[in-house]
């Protein structure tokens, strides 16, 4: 049992290695193939034709933080969905009602955010 478990993750490990090696290999190969003639104009940041000025990292408005917070909260909601979906067959209606309550409460939060104009991108 434990052997089967560990061995099935060996394949995951192989995929992980492939995922890391593929971009590294592709970019290294590209570095060998392409000519490397840097000049000052080439090394400037590309900003759709505009000349870049001052630091790229500026201070953002606090209201963008709310998008991140909303994302985290609904991400946590997703975590609860997964085991629910797995056992839904066995628990039936009761689990359905539970999840409807859960979603209703979070939907209230979303409606509140909507009413407060948090979702508007400014």
């Amino acid at each position: 049992m434990s052997n089967i478990y560990a061995n099935s993750y060996a394949i995951v490990f192989v995929f992980l290695c492939l995922g890391v090696l593929l971009p590294v290999g592709a970019l290294t190969l590209g570095r060998w193939l392409r000519p490397h003639v840097p000049s000052e104009a080439k090394e400037t940041t590309y900003e759709s034709g505009n000349n870049p000025f001052h630091d790229s990292r500026i201070q953002f408005q606090v209201r963008y933080y709310l998008f991140a917070l909303l994302f985290v909260i609904f991400d946590v909601e997703t975590v609860f969905f997964y085991p629910w979906a797995v056992v839904y067959d066995q628990l039936g209606l009761f689990a359905f009602v539970e999840m409807v309550l859960f979603i209703t409460l979070l939907a209230l939060g979303l409606i509140y955010a909507w009413k407060k104009k948090v979702l508007r991108w400014m």
């Binding site: 060996a10 709310l66 085991p83 056992v87 628990l91 209230l108």
Partner: protein, 173 residues
Amino acid sequence: MSGTDIAFFLLALAAIAGAVMMLQLTNVVHMVLSLVMTFLAIAGLYVLLSAEFVAVVQVLIYSGAITIIMLFAIMLTRHHADDKERQTTGGVGHKAAAAFAVLAFGLAVYAGIRTLDFGADGSALPADNAKAIGQWLYSYYTIPFEIVSVLLLVALIGAIVLAKKDGKGAEDE
């Protein structure tokens, strides 16, 4: 030494390396990325403990959502990554004291866990992690589950109240 042991040592090394790198690096974004390395290594450790669901949640929540939150927080704050502004803290005395404290802590932990008995090894490995969690969560722990939704709602509304200015002032900005 089995493959699981080797994997454990590599993952533990990656977790500690990420944590140490986070303390050592000067660029805040690089710090967050090294923290992601620690999070992913810990997810790997969960997989080794055959807690697959927790591992996936670790990747989804910690190295996904929490990292996003931290990156946003970095974008929102003013910071200078100049090395000139960095100040070294403490002289030789401080460093010796810190080294002594770390050593003492390590020895205390080692002495504490060396003879610690964790009881019998967990019975059969639960093959369907998510299923077992789901069965407990949605039949036995129903009330805590619903309270979690209240908690999330409070977090959501609290964040909006704190970050969003109410009234006319907000419109003018």
